[in-house]
């Protein structure tokens, strides 16, 4: 086996392992972002203004 083929084999093994490590890490990042920054229904601006106006009137 020539040194070029050995190097190619080494890059292939380390490279494939590296991609899986990277992608697993990205997977964890997505899970973390999804957990700590979950989707929340945003109220339309008009509704928000109406609610604030009603609260002010009650006061």
């Amino acid at each position: 086996m020539t040194s070029t083929i050995q190097t190619a084999l080494f890059i292939a093994v380390v490279g494939l392992a590296g991609i899986f490590i990277f992608m697993s890490f990205f997977y964890l990042i997505i899970l973390a972002l999804d957990k700590y920054l979950p989707y929340r229904e945003e109220k339309p601006a008009e509704e928000f203004i109406e609610e604030t106006f009603e609260e002010e009137e009650e006061e």
Binding site: I5, I11, I19, F20, I30, L37
Partner: protein, 385 residues
Amino acid sequence: MGLEQLLPAIAGMTWQHLVMIGVGLILIYLAIAKNYEPTLLLPMGFGAILVNIPLSSALTQIDPATGQAVEGVLNVFFDAGIATEIFPLLIFIAIGAMIDFSPLFRNPSLLLFGAAAQFGIFLTMMFASLLGYDIREAASIGIIGAADGPTSIVVASRFAPSLLGPISVAAYSYMALVPIIQPPVIRLLTSRRERLIRMSSANHNNKRISKKALIAFPVVITIAAGIIAPSSLSLIGFLMFGNLIRECGVLNKLSLSAQNELSSLVTILLGITIASTMTADRFIRTDTLIIIALGLFAFIFDTFGGVIFAKFLNLFRKEGNKINPMIGACGISAFPMSARVIHQMGQKEDPYNYLLMPAISANVGGQIGSVVAGGIILTLTPLLS
């Protein structure tokens, strides 16, 4: 006055030039008649004609009167845009602005197919080194399997500029040929029963993703990738920058410009500039045929890697929660073509099987995977050669 003085281009024409003009015409035909990656193959085809007319002023020529070099515009473009990697990196901004990562948030585990389907890159690299290419050339040939034109161009321009022409032609041609390459490989590797597996999950498909998470994603990925592999940052960073422009919500005009005008303009320049490497003396070689064959090999084994990985995962999953192995093939970067092909294959087997959403998730994973693969090759190869 002889023909040589009157029409020096005709006098200097060889059969190799004529073959290359024919190659240019074929690329233009494929782009127009078959709609194969027309944005790139058409400028490359026209550029191939432009640079294969002897004494073309588009290329640097020696002025016989003064003996000095007169710079050709395509060489200027090449030095400014490809040798410096500016053109492919600008394309990455455009691609980043086009990618919607929300399907990945809906099915994050499918991101791993973006890793498995890069198998062809490394197998092809080993095969190329067996054929006698040095490690830098072998890496540049292998990266055709990324199914990602700009990544192939960045790697090839850094490691094997002399092979850039055939590598680019192979990368873009095979991306366009995904609907022809993938189905037979998938059918060979899967049973009908496996192809009938349903993956529709209403909860996943309808899940809403927060804007904050989508904005944070490109920033966090850039920082994480930069810390782990700084040399991959130019690729991942520009892709994520484009995506941040898209998701931030305050740069909609810039996002649209990146997706449309920037993408179109740079693609024109990229295509016609790559053609400057498609001169007869550099292109008509056995190497070109070998590279085109190895590119096909890479695409086939990408598909193989993705499908086999899905089958491997199914060994550990319960009945009713299995992955349709065809989804593994979507881990390549050809977006959205690969996802569409797999969805259509699924529907052909069972018209009520909707694989589009998981296929798109895996395909988006493939877009990240190909860039990561490029970054890893750019990091490892110089260390070991």
